[in-house]
């Protein structure tokens, strides 16, 4: 066959080039089902043995229009519905929150090392919480103690201060934001380390908080965390295509019609609010915000329209399973969940990394 002189003849097969959307949509559907399965399985496992069918019937009977004649005891139902289920739901919510916040920060900063804590949220939250532990006042609002409220405030105030400090004229360059965040984070860190040293007998509670734990989870906490996380995730998902465009430099993003400064502020605020809500009750759980988005990126690619929802679902599954291990492996002693996320998450992540022969594109 003669070669086309201009070389511009396009074979029909080229027309079939498509972004790989279908597989990613199936992945979202599959992981959604997996979340439900994992929740159901996790509720059956614990120090009190509850058969899976009993679990399912108890769960289903909570839905309207479904009635089973109860053949289980009241205490079984209480353990399941008021102890295990809120804890599992909270773990799922916080896993989703940290994973999606991590993916958002990484995209926003175009930096693979960014996590929900990079610009001072964790250190601010920890400082707030430590102050809460040390204050000799009894305080509660809407049934919550001082610690979650101060932790939430610490995270939000810390990031807000970082944002204001990083402003250069009308813009907030990503580099100054990271540097200001790391610097202030170090300052908060040194203050709370000092406070921990002088904390005396409260040190155990503080360290457990910093490493993260779901041991005291209640439905009321789910009720507080859920709106922040849900609204934050919805806002972030709305801006997912803009986040794709912002993977180019900011000049090109502007030239492709993205209002860069506004998008940055909205995404930063949304990601910070869900991070603050997540850490305020259970402490600063590490690794989820880094490992989950990168694992998703390695498997399903960098398009944020899929990366973000897939991170939500994978983060939820990962933290529910990590918490399951934390509460069962050395039962009745609980292991801080931050230790489990590292021990279980890191080998899996390294496996994914090696499977791609070490070639990582960010």
């Amino acid at each position: 066959m003669l070669k086309n002189a201009t070389g511009s003849l396009t074979p029909n097969s080229m027309r079939n080039i498509r972004p790989h959307w279908r597989g990613r949509v199936y992945a979202i559907a599959g992981l959604s089902i997996a979340v439900i399965v994992v929740v159901a399985v996790a509720t059956t496992i614990g120090s009190v043995e509850i058969p899976i069918f009993t679990t399912l019937r108890i769960l289903l009977s909570q839905l309207p229009f479904i009635d089973f004649s109860p053949d289980w005891t009241g205490s079984t139902e209480t353990i399941l519905l008021n102890i295990r289920l809120p804890r599992i739901i909270l773990a799922g919510l916080i896993g989703a929150a940290l994973a999606v916040a991590g993916a958002t920060y990484q995209g926003l900063f175009r930096n693979p090392l960014a996590d929900p804590y990079l610009i001072g949220a964790a250190q601010g939250a920890a400082l707030g919480a430590v102050i809460g532990f040390l204050l000799p006042v009894e305080f509660s609002a809407m049934g919550f103690g001082l610690i979650p409220i101060l932790a939430f405030t610490g995270a939000v105030v810390s990031v807000a201060v970082v944002y204001i400090l990083a402003r250069v004229g009308k813009t907030v360059p990503v580099t100054t934001l990271i540097l200001a965040g790391v610097a202030l984070g170090a300052l908060w860190g040194s203050i709370y380390s000092y406070l921990i040293i002088i904390s005396g007998d409260k040190i155990h509670g503080i360290i457990f908080w910093v490493m993260g734990s779901f041991s005291l989870s209640k439905w009321s906490e789910v009720g507080v965390v859920l709106p922040y996380v849900a609204i934050g995730i919805i806002v972030i998902l709305l801006y997912s295509r803009s986040l794709n465009i912002m993977q180019l430099d900011e000049e090109q993003a502007k030239q492709l019609g993205v209002n860069v400064e506004r998008t940055k502020l909205i995404l930063l605020a949304a990601a910070t609010l869900i991070t603050a809500a997540a850490v305020s009750f259970v402490g600063t759980i590490g690794f989820v915000g880094i490992i989950i988005p990168h694992a998703v990126r390695l498997i399903w690619g960098p398009d944020h329209r899929f990366l973000l929802p897939l991170s939500v679902l994978s983060g939820a599954i990962f933290l529910i399973l990590a918490d399951l291990i934390a509460r069962t492996v050395m039962s009745p002693t609980e292991i801080p969940i931050g230790i489990i996320t590292a021990i279980c998450g890191v080998p899996f992540f390294l496996y994914l990394l090696r499977r791609r022969k070490g070639i990582v594109y960010f």
Partner: protein
């Protein structure tokens, strides 16, 4: 009537004035070349015309509207930019990058339609980038990336395209292919083009009019014959006696010879008469 006008534009980084009260205009379907030495402010001018930086004074008028009054996504449907040495995320495929050109045409939460895909194929076909459409950016050469970015600008389907040194990374064949493509789009689709080029010969071959910039000011503007003259080139670049006439089409042509620069004075005596 002018499609795009630059009126008394002054651009500065801090206290350093880069462009000083500059004015020029482009008509519909015209290719305007910006030429001048390194650091004369060409790239800064492109950034101001695409409203990435805000001028100290003066205005850029597109379709008789001040561009600072046009919403950013609206502006991206009217005017596309091919930046010099663009930063692209290495994990995206070439196709995904070109598809980003459709962004200003899409609403919140909308995905690219079959029509957007078709526009993207055509843009990639024209820039000969389809063969590596599924490869990741990190695996592509500088010249391939250059053509990907040009394809993205075509996919934006704007009436004006600004190109900042689009041929810098390309071999001679791809230089001609890209410039022929842009030229034909101007003729057939009445695309308006502003292009910065450091290759004066390509500028003379492809541009309808040229603006020669010297330290932020217009030194000369007009047809290539009016602008690329021995005097102008000596005054702006300091290079003497290098403008000739193209043997085939008569356009001005710059031919360099060793020892022609300021540093070549020592050899001047050896020049054959």
């Amino acid at each position: 009537m002018a499609k795009l006008e630059v009126n008394d534009l002054t651009l500065a980084y801090g206290k350093t004035t880069v462009i000083d009260t500059m004015s020029f205009s482009v008509s519909k379907g015209e290719v305007l070349g910006l030429i001048g030495p390194n650091g004369s402010g060409k790239s800064t001018l492109i950034k101001a015309v695409s409203h990435v930086i805000t001028p100290r004074s003066g205005r850029v008028i597109l379709d008789s509207k001040d561009i600072s009054m046009i919403h950013r996504s609206e502006l991206a449907r009217l005017l596309a930019v091919v930046p010099q040495t663009p930063i692209l995320p290495s994990s995206f495929s070439a196709f995904e990058i070109v598809l980003m050109g459709r962004n200003p045409h899409l609403g919140l939460l909308r995905y690219e339609s079959e029509n957007d895909m078709e526009i993207t194929y055509r843009a990639m076909e024209r820039t000969a980038t389809l063969p590596f459409a599924e490869r990741r950016i990190g695996e592509l050469s500088g010249g391939e990336i250059q053509r990907i970015v040009i394809a993205r600008a075509l996919a934006q389907q704007t009436e004006v395209i600004l190109l900042d040194e689009p041929t810098a990374n390309l071999d001679i064949n791809h230089q001609l292919e890209i410039l022929d493509l842009i030229k034909s789009l101007c003729t057939l689709n009445h695309l308006t083009v502003i292009i910065t080029l450091h290759d004066l010969n390509l500028a003379a071959q492809y541009c309808d009019r040229l603006v020669l910039i010297k330290t932020g000011q217009v030194h000369a503007q007009g047809t290539p014959e009016e602008v690329i003259t021995t005097d102008n080139i000596r005054e702006v670049y300091g290079t003497d006696n290098c403008v000739y006439t193209h043997p085939v089409n008569g356009r001005p042509t710059v031919l360099l010879q060793a020892g022609g620069s300021r540093n070549g004075n020592l050899n001047r005596n050896n020049k054959p008469e």
